[in-house]
């Protein structure tokens, strides 16, 4: 059973503690040019998680603020891992999707493949690596919550078995009518370990809601399985054609000779 985190966006106060905890735990420098919180907060090589501010209208059409923590969603079947041709991304049993820098070639196919544009690159470095949130996999392996989750003063997160959290999320949105009837991450790209509930429609909060519900690797699986088969069949056909047409040419040449003679 994989671990997950349930995020209740109605509770977040935008304090940014989680982004600080992330920097400290992972030893990431502060980036003066890109803040980790506010309207311009942006994920990058040094910011593995950020809290974005959104001014939106609530159901009574009153302007309200909502704060959205962004990080890797740790897909159940991650596109990044199925895209990497050197196995530098791997999904663990416990839930986190981990990046192994020594295996990485730096082709950045993982970045293009991630439906949520999560993996970032260290563009300023001579030998850049891909970076992203790894759900503090060391902690999660031990059954502890990720760093960001454990410091939240506003009770935004619940950490636990994903299936149980999903059930809990369903109960919450069924009971309380303020929530939109959608659990982000339940079905998106086949499900993610991080799941979100909210009182504002997700598309207004910068979520990519138009993504497929199919698991991403399923788009290439059939293709990859067919390849060796197609390759071998094609080879047999070519060899056959080679001998057949060669023989045919010989026969026609001999016939021509006989004819002339």
């Amino acid at each position: 059973m994989s671990k997950g985190v349930l995020v209740d966006l109605t509770k977040c106060v935008g304090c940014g503690s989680c982004t600080v905890a992330c920097k400290l735990y992972n030893g990431n420098e502060w980036d003066d040019t890109t803040p980790t919180m506010g309207p311009d907060a942006k994920l990058n090589g040094k910011n593995w998680t950020v809290v974005q501010f959104h001014e939106v209208k609530d159901s009574n059409n009153q302007p309200v603020w909502r704060f959205v923590k962004q990080q890797c969603l740790h897909c159940k079947e991650p596109a990044c891992a199925s895209a990497c041709f050197a196995k530098a991304f791997q999904k663990t049993e416990a839930g986190p999707v981990i990046y192994y820098p020594h295996l990485c070639v730096g082709c950045r196919y993982c970045m293009v493949a991630c439906p949520f544009n999560i993996p970032k690159y260290e563009w300023e470095k001579a030998f850049p690596l891909v970076t992203k949130c790894m759900m503090c996999s060391g902690k999660v392996e031990k059954g502890e919550a990720p760093a960001c989750v454990s410091v939240c003063p506003a009770d935004v997160f619940k950490y636990g078995d994903r299936d149980a959290l999903l059930q809990e999320a369903k109960d919450i949105i069924a009971k309380d009518s303020k929530y939109v009837k959608h659990i982000f991450g339940e079905e998106e790209v086949g499900g993610t370990e991080w799941i979100y509930i909210s009182d504002i429609p997700f598309e207004q909060l910068g979520f990519k809601t138009n993504v497929t519900k199919r698991a991403m690797p399923s788009y290439t699986e059939a293709y990859m399985h067919a390849t060796p088969f197609v390759g071998i069949t094609w080879g047999v056909i070519l060899t056959g054609l080679y001998h057949y047409t060669k023989r045919r040419n010989q026969i026609s040449k001999e016939n021509n000779k006989n004819f002339k003679a």
Partner: protein
């Protein structure tokens, strides 16, 4: 003239103003390349987290591989189907292809961030990745092509190995057709994962088929362009009927492509997007009309009976395929990334420099090895 040089057994390389220009361009590009390898991708390119793949992947790799596809198509026709009729073009088509692949490898190498780690996928098998297949096939195919070229090279250097290469040739040829077939389609297959990112006019569950077919039909087109250039430069003219027949083969593949495209777009209910007048729609229409429909008409009209007709066909189709690949890499992605990307001067210089190096290499090989002579003349020499 080429045979003259051979009899004298001296290496020749004519210096013309154009070649000096190409050499200068190559030198500048090499400078930029060294700078990039030492300082990283961020300094030279306009790539960013929004645009992890740009001109080098789009042009140097995707276009390069497609345009170099002329080699496998010709190998199939001449060496497997034994249509000796087309033999006069076989060697030069394969040479272009070999040079094309070497440039693709160079382009790929430049584009990877941890370039000293390039060999990693040979030992760490990410076999669920389409890129894994591209990587293996391109590496193997380049090796096979170098071996195939061995048959030509040993006519001049290392003559004692010539017979070995000659014997190995049929096997190499067949292996050398399987690999490109697989990876031409895999390059399209890479985009299967971009289902929510690539604009629906280009993304398709059968995008790999579109890549495969277009890499096949661009082969003869490239041969038309190349033989015109070689004809001008070396006064070596491939008879029009031969080219015209090839162009027809290509046109049949294009008709198939067009039909598949329409069926696919209709099936997914996005055919209407093509006529919606958007930025993407217009580029798509340009690609289809100038790169596919007009060339088909040319191929079946009397125009293809002339050198200028063949050249027009060749240029339209080649540029059409280039446009298609660039549309997939850039135009079709702008909407989902929310920002646009314009390659930096450094990126353009390197791409142009790689092409220049390819042209120079082609000229050198043609002047020093038996490439452009017809087989039957060859025996006399």
């Amino acid at each position: 003239m080429a045979s003259h040089a051979q009899e004298a057994q001296k290496w020749s390389f004519r210096i013309t103003p154009i070649r000096v220009l190409l050499m200068l361009l190559s030198l500048v590009a090499i400078g930029v390349i060294v700078f990039r390898l030492v300082t990283g991708l961020g300094t030279v390119t306009n790539l960013s987290d929004e645009w992890p793949w740009g001109l080098w992947i789009g042009f140097d790799v995707l276009c390069g591989v497609a345009l170099a596809g002329g080699g496998y198509g010709t190998a199939l026709i001449v060496h497997v189907l034994h249509r000796d009729y087309f033999a006069p073009i076989a060697r030069s088509a394969m040479l272009t292809s070999l040079i094309g692949y070497l440039l693709v490898m160079a382009g790929l190498f430049l584009d990877i961030g941890q370039w000293f780690n390039f060999w990693r996928p040979f030992v760490s098998w990410g076999h669920s990745s389409v890129l894994f297949e591209v990587f293996w096939c391109v590496s193997c195919y380049t090796t096979v092509q170098i071996l195939e070229f061995g048959e030509i090279a040993t006519e001049r250097v290392g003559k004692k190995f010539h017979n070995i290469f000659k014997k190995a040739l049929p096997v190499l040829m067949i292996v050398g057709i399987i690999f490109p077939t697989l990876h031409q389609s895999s390059l399209g297959g890479l985009y299967l994962l971009m289902v929510d990112k690539l604009y629906p006019l280009w993304w398709s569950p059968i995008i790999f088929l579109f890549f495969l077919i277009s890499s096949f039909f661009v082969g003869p087109a490239m041969i038309c362009v190349e033989t015109t250039l070689a004809g001008k430069a070396y006064d070596h003219w491939i008879p029009i009927p031969i080219l015209r027949k090839l162009v027809r083969i290509s046109a049949y593949a294009m008709i198939l492509y067009l039909i598949l495209k329409i069926v696919d777009l209709t099936n997914r209910g996005v055919l209407g997007l093509a006529f919606s007048g958007t930025f993407e729609a217009n580029w798509f229409l340009i690609e289809m009309i100038f790169g596919v429909i007009i060339p088909i008409i040319i191929a079946f009209s009397g125009f293809s009976n002339s050198r200028s007709g063949l050249l027009t066909f060749g240029l339209l189709v080649s540029l059409g395929v280039v446009l298609n690949r660039m549309n997939v890499v850039i135009t079709g992605m702008i909407r989902s990334t929310g920002v646009s990307y314009i390659p930096s001067a450094g990126e353009f210089i390197v791409s142009a420099g790689l092409v220049a190096m390819g042209v120079l290499a082609y000229c050198f090989v043609v002047e020093n090895f038996r490439i452009l002579e017809h087989e039957d003349h060859g025996h006399a020499a």
